[in-house]
């Protein structure tokens, strides 16, 4: 990987427009934004050919800060908007930034169908286990027994395994990392953007101000330490006894396969029928 100096981030920010940002102190979203920018910069992509699409939520505020083609849409619908952009201009790189509530609750249907179509979108799902923007309600990835404002006695529901969900639906590139593992995150973003098909990267992230406070996780540094100490790379999973794997965040590329991509399949269809009588 090319060594990109930190300053590069500033070249990609709309710093004259909309800062300071809306995120709380200690939020992981800025770390993810930095990793996205470094991934884009190291790939030498023309930023005119990149579209960043988001829905509603804390993470979905990201596009306003980055100097790309940007589209901040409705709650849950980012992947559907992104599908329209990508199908009309398949040469563009379309990156979706979304959260656990946006993408797996209200937007779950769009997620599974985009994965099934294997359309070439890069979905960066920042999973902070809670609805932050609305003040801390239970999400589909709030762990069992965890506290949220709408599960004040502990969450009685089981939580989604997002990567398994995406793989079950047919996504061809699936990876998981945490906000602590910044270089790994940047590498996964780069691989996902290069991957010709539907890709999803789950970034397990810290919401210290709401989720952390409600669940007595300490501040942002403590949550980062937990990501470091309580996660293991996939390569180590097979080598460890089951009791050392249980409860750990498993990081790594869970799937990377080449399947027929939707826009390419559509282009082939057009080639096949274009000479038919109009």
């Amino acid at each position: 990987m090319a060594n990109i100096p930190q300053k590069i981030v500033h070249q990609y920010l709309r710093h004259d427009k909309k800062f300071p940002h809306v995120w709380c102190a200690g939020c992981s979203n800025g770390i993810v934004l930095g990793a996205i920018i470094r991934a884009i910069a190291s790939m030498n992509l023309n930023r005119d050919d990149i579209v960043m699409v988001s829905g509603i939520g804390c993470s979905s505020r990201m596009p306003v800060y980055i100097d790309l083609n940007t589209l901040h849409t409705l709650h849950g619908r980012s992947i559907a908007y992104a599908t329209g952009v990508k199908l009309h201009k398949p040469h563009m790189k379309v990156i979706v930034v979304t959260g656990d509530g946006d993408c797996t609750a209200i937007g779950g249907n769009h997620l599974i169908h985009a994965a099934r179509r294997n359309i070439d979108l890069t979905v960066i799902l920042i999973n902070n286990n809670i609805y932050g923007m609305t003040g801390g309600q239970c999400s589909p990835t709030t762990p069992h027994d965890a506290i949220a404002t709408t599960s004040p006695y502990g969450n009685i529901e089981p939580d989604f395994n997002i990567c398994n969900l995406a793989m079950g639906a047919g996504a061809s590139f699936v990876a998981r990392t945490t906000a602590f593992h910044v270089t790994e995150m940047q590498n996964y973003f780069q691989s996902a953007i290069e991957h010709p098909g539907f890709s999803l990267i789950e970034v397990v992230s810290a919401c210290p101000v709401i989720y952390g406070r409600l669940n007595k996780k300490g501040g942002a540094p403590q949550m980062m330490k937990e990501f470091r100490d309580n996660s293991i790379p996939l390569t180590a999973v097979d080598k460890l006894p089951p009791e050392k794997v249980a409860g750990k965040i498993q990081r790594g590329i869970l799937r990377k396969e080449i399947h027929p991509e939707f826009c390419s399949a559509y282009a082939d269809l057009v080639d096949r029928v274009k000479d038919k009588e109009v």
């Binding site: 901040h72 849409t73 559907a80 329209g84 952009v85 199908l87 009309h88 169908h113 559509y266 274009k274």
Partner: protein, 372 residues
């Protein structure tokens, strides 16, 4: 050809090159025809997972430069409302065809009704002025589809084409115009360099140029209230400006937007105000009544929103009675009452039906004879 077929070919002749939709009776033929025709022309047809995804996909495609359209019916139209509001507030051109069916919820999927007239105007939350067109024949379905696409491009908004189930499925002989005679309007493109571009930059007619993703402009689009550049704002002045801009491009251009058919109104003492398939029955009823010497005329809006206030006020001034037949429990009649304050409620007479059957010429003729 069938009404839904006319919509599909009207869309193609207007330059629509992107369709995203979800099957629903009685609009499905539009999707089926475009699924066959768009790939031959290099356009995109995609069947989405639901109607919400469909309105979102056409809006995304439009921002990338496509001429985009979807077709649905009541239940799908309800699901699309949030996305329609997004297209309006972000001033993104697109067209939604709603082939209406009876009832709330599932209702009677294969029966006609005109129950979505108010939803077409007020369906999305928050104030958002609407352009809604309403044909009464297969030929006009073709023409108004082209007009809907043209107006969407020109006014940068989501234009709605309301259809009746009966017109969607009715077959009539139609001679389509030579393509050379079809007037196609494309969105105004910016001529300024990217660093001067404002995504919402009105000219003197309150219309603004629109760049597409991938052209170097790198603009921001958000459903939040935004400033002229498209960036979110909480300033009350900028919020009011954005809200007013969406309305004033319509109110300033009423002459371009309003289309109304007036028939036999010169000496009429009774006027029938109605749209779509019900106007076909009214035309037959008027012919029969005129044969008997009754002075009755027809006003039929082709653009139902914005409502043709001035034209209606003027043309109803000299009539004694207005009959408003509609296949709902009373929607357009409230607009007529609003515009005819000089008449008593008894002079504005409803004919309403919501049982899946049409209002017939005889129903209207009977009412004409009652009041004359």
């Amino acid at each position: 050809m069938q009404g839904n077929e006319a919509v599909a070919y009207g869309a193609l002749d207007a330059g629509v090159n992107f369709f995203a939709g979800y099957p629903i009776t009685p609009s499905t033929e539009v999707a089926e025809i475009l699924a066959a025709e768009l790939p031959k022309r290099g356009g995109v047809f995609v069947q989405m997972e639901d109607e919400i995804a469909s309105i979102c996909a056409i809006t995304g495609a439009s921002l990338a430069g496509a001429k985009a359209l979807t077709a649905t019916s009541g239940p799908g139209f309800s699901l699309m409302q949030e996305g329609i509001g997004f297209a309006k507030i972000t001033e993104t051109p697109c067209v939604v065809v709603n082939v209406q069916r009876l009832g709330p919820s599932t209702g009677m999927p294969t029966s006609p009704a005109q129950g979505d007239i108010m939803q077409a105007k007020w369906g999305s939350h928050g104030d958002s002025p609407s352009i809604v067109l309403y044909p009464d024949s297969v030929k006009e379905s073709y023409e108004l589809t082209i007009r809907a696409v043209n107006l969407a491009e020109k006014y940068r908004t989501c234009v709605i084409l309301l259809m009746d189930e009966v017109i969607g499925h009715m077959r009539e002989s139609v001679r389509l115009p030579d393509m050379a005679n079809v007037r196609v309007i494309n969105r105004i493109k910016p001529t300024v360099p990217p660093h001067w571009y404002k995504h919402y930059d009105e000219n003197q007619k309150y219309l603004s140029p629109l760049a597409s993703y991938g052209e170097g402009y790198r603009f921001h689009v958000t459903g939040l209230t935004h400033d002229a550049h498209g960036f979110p704002t909480n300033k009350s002045g900028e919020a009011a400006e954005m809200m007013e801009a969406c309305g004033r491009k319509i109110s300033y251009n009423m002459r371009d937007l309003v289309q109304i058919e007036s028939r036999d109104m010169e000496d009429a003492k009774i006027a029938i105000f109605t749209a779509g398939i019900t106007a076909r029955a009214a035309k037959a009823a008027i012919a029969m009544a005129r044969h008997e010497g009754i002075k009755v005329g027809l006003l039929r809006p082709l653009t139902i929103w914005p409502f043709p206030d001035d034209a209606v006020r003027k043309m109803l001034r000299d009539v004694d009675t207005v009959i408003v037949p509609e296949l709902n429990q009373g929607q357009m009649i409230h607009e007529i009452r609003r515009l005819t304050k000089d008449k008593s409620d008894g002079d504005v007479i409803p004919i309403q039906r919501v049982n899946g059957q049409l209002i017939t010429p005889n129903d209207i003729l009977r009412k004409i004879k009652e009041v004359c």
